[in-house]
Subunit: 276 residues, 2 copies
């Protein structure tokens, strides 16, 4: 693991690191915020999975998360959204290939060699963090934005006992019924739609939901509302009597201005679960 | 004036606008955050002048200022740092030309046609704001980062009764004795050093200071410490018994991670002056 940068931030350290990833067969970059409390012992961790076109950097610099993570004594992890670099396949579209890993393990050529973001985020990166940072891996929570909200919800529901809480801003939450999902799952997972349901938050909610609190915030003025599947997810959420809240925030859109406005509440929500 | 974008943010609106500037003889872009209170009547305004290489966008997305401006009911203005575009002169160095206006009115070719950032920020943009936004121009404060800290301090001291308070992160505050200053003043103002003192915060402090509170934060690990002139400014500040504080923040550097950490305190500092 290489240190790319470390900056003092809200009494803690905002770092950026890279490492050779076995899962993705390329160098991967990620960011970690460690609060001051970590100098005294392991702290809980909150994952932030980002959306289409993002790297580890967008949420790190735009979400305003460090202020509240520092207040709560929680570490933050910002993974990249796909493998990258020379030799990694890509597509001209912004919503396929590099920057658009969709948090699945691709099984179809040409994607299947590098695009293993499920394994990377759920297996390889946690092991690396446990080894190198003062993080208590028994106290994890996860959140995400848009495509990253999809990743957060599907991982939380697929890995029982891994995460104590899950939240998302404007998540893609019914991808098997959306152009943000069908296109990518076809490319990465193939045309056999039976394999897709494991990566659809609405399907997973109907299939048992999450054993802990869920918090969703989506803006009423989201410019991608038609692609998110909020209606279907909300119906499944309420139908399953899932603990948590699906909120529609008046006037907000899909941007980081929306995220930064409500991230204090999201981090407080996770802190309550992590310190219970 | 054209609206480039408007996003709901902390209950208010973060907008980006452009207009044809008479002062700079080119199109100029700026950002304004209007808090929710502005829908009921004019609000005070805090200017944020940015540093080398920045546009209107850096502080708007990285400083985390909107959270606290919303809490205090204060508008924020983020001007660009220079004229830009086809036909506007530039230099290969990052610290001269586009992105490096240094908040002066250039008198020397080739800069003198467009590089009028002093007039733009102190005259043209305030008039445009007064006309188009619910801002109470009798309640203004100003802050900045690095080169923008230089701009904020020099404007505050040069325009009595314009600003009620001034603050800066890692300001260039003795440019006439620094490579961040001598080079640019030579280019923009010419070799007659007598014209430079009007744009040196330390000189202006010794020449009367500021009629209001001053707050300076600079990191002890600032990678540009040698270029800032903090020592000279602090000596002038204390020697003149200027109201305010010059603070050195342990372990922090020149980045926006530093700014975001302390911006809550800066905005509270300005709010106290603006609502006095």
């Amino acid at each position: 693991m290489q240190t790319i940068s470390e900056n003092r931030c809200f009494g803690g350290t905002q770092g950026v690191y890279s490492h050779a990833s076995d899962a993705c067969v390329c160098d991967m970059t990620f960011a970690v915020f460690m609060p001051e409390e970590a100098t005294h012992g392991p702290v809980p961790v909150l994952w932030f999975l980002s959306g289409l076109t993002c790297t580890h950097e967008n949420a790190m610099v735009k979400a305003g998360a460090q202020a509240w993570a520092a207040e709560q004594g929680i570490a933050l992890v910002f993974p990249d959204t796909s493998p990258r670099g020379e030799g990694v396949p890509n597509d001209d579209a912004f919503d396929l290939g590099q920057g658009a890993g969709f948090y699945v393990d691709a099984t179809q050529a040409p994607w299947d060699k590098h695009f293993k973001m499920w394994t990377y985020v759920t297996d390889e990166l946690p092991a690396l963090l446990a080894e190198n940072f003062a993080i208590d891996m028994d106290r994890q929570a996860i959140m995400g934005h848009s495509m990253g909200g999809h990743g957060a919800l599907t991982m939380a529901m697929s890995l029982p006992d891994r995460f104590r809480s899950v939240s998302a801003f404007a998540p893609i939450c019914n991808p098997t019924a959306s152009d943000w999902g069908q296109k990518q799952f076809s490319a990465y997972l193939g045309s056999e739609e039976g394999t897709w349901a494991a990566h659809d938050a609405t399907a997973l909610m109907l299939d048992g939901g999450f054993d802990g609190p869920v918090l969703i915030d989506t803006g009423t003025d989201d410019q991608f509302a038609d692609l998110l599947g909020t209606q279907e997810f909300a119906a499944a959420f309420a139908g399953c009597l899932q603990e948590g809240a699906v909120r529609l925030q008046k006037g907000y859109d899909h941007s980081y201005f929306f995220i930064s406005t409500f991230i204090e509440e999201h981090i407080a929500f996770h802190a309550e679960a992590l310190y219970r």
